[in-house]
Point group: C2
């Protein structure tokens, strides 16, 4: 397998964590998003949408969309599981993951922030947009864990919820969101820090980190 | 089951389609989003995030996030399937669905458009934001189907891809996006129109439609 990504891309980070949790080794290729390398001819041949990550499988398929890659990894490499067995519990883990993947992340990514900028807004307003999106979204995530046992988001082992949470916590801090009140999220983050797959996937550990 | 939604909410619309495809009957409750009824005490008890849809299951659980509901429905009511069997094919269907659920829909929903408005922009700029988001996102969706057989997005039967596509096509037109060049999306839409579950789930057929 070969993962095409970028050290700071949250979606690439999710897939790096999941590959590690599954004990899978993947070659990596890196594209500098701010320099527009994801729009190079070579990458557009793999993913015409020009978005990282893209995952080349061993049989030559190219998968796009990090959440689809995570589900594919879970289906093809079920152990250790990233989702509980009970359908209601799975739905709760996925709902948490989707608050991040469908509500927070898309509204504060580079493309959207550039759109805000294109409407005539400067750094302060753009950053406030991203800060608030992260803060309010993570507040919703914290509420979803009110009755869930730790130390991870949903119990004793990491799930899709933690895989989506950890990259988003990094974004939230980068945009100045005050996460200090999110006790359960911080507990889950602390638990993940002790898991090698999470530690190895951190942006600052990647060869393209700046 | 009881689906708490709003006739025009795309995410509620997705779940209405899926319930119909699975042959399930669910009671419905409606909340007028523009009047803020999703922030009423009654609804916040169900979903503290104050977002529709919410799905009350027969055993009293409350599910949130439409994409989590769709996966739950697929897991608990596998027939007829909304995803193919082959893992790579499933990943491709999900990737298409996530382009809509994680890239288009969140960037043009009411909350984000209100944020654009709060930055001092009027109807024309807000509408152009939403139009462009729909147009560019659906162009990516059309490209994903270049090598997929019809008449539905991915073959002879509707999948999660169609379930996400149909509501989004409605939004795209409402914001003035020109979808006439998206031949495969239009083909899939035409095929869905002949499926009762899609027809019955249409916003204009709901009791709260205006």
């Amino acid at each position: 397998m070969k993962l095409h990504g970028y050290f700071r891309s949250s979606a690439s980070y999710r897939v790096r964590i999941a590959l590690g949790l599954k004990g899978l080794k993947a070659e990596q290729a890196f594209y500098h998003l701010r320099k527009g390398e994801q729009r190079s001819d070579n990458f557009l041949k793999l993913n015409p949408q020009g978005l990282v990550p893209a995952l080349e499988t061993d049989d030559g398929n190219v998968l796009t969309q990090s959440m689809a890659m995570l589900e594919w990894l879970e289906e093809t490499h079920p152990n250790p599981p990233m989702l509980p067995k009970d359908p209601i519990a799975r739905a709760k883990v996925r709902a948490f993951a989707y608050v991040i993947a469908c509500e927070i992340h898309p509204v504060q990514n580079l493309l959207v922030l550039n759109n805000v900028r294109a409407l005539g807004h400067g750094d302060a307003e753009v950053n406030e947009w991203a800060r608030r999106t992260n803060y309010e979204g993570l507040a919703a995530c914290e509420a979803l864990l009110a009755h869930e046992k730790g130390p991870f988001c949903f119990g004793a082992t990491p799930t899709l919820a933690d895989i989506c949470l950890i990259p988003q916590m990094g974004n939230a801090r980068r945009f100045g969101a005050d996460v200090s009140g999110f006790k359960r999220l911080l507990e889950a983050e602390a638990a993940c820090k002790n898991v090698k797959a999470f530690a190895d996937a951190a942006p600052e550990k990647q060869p393209d980190a700046e």
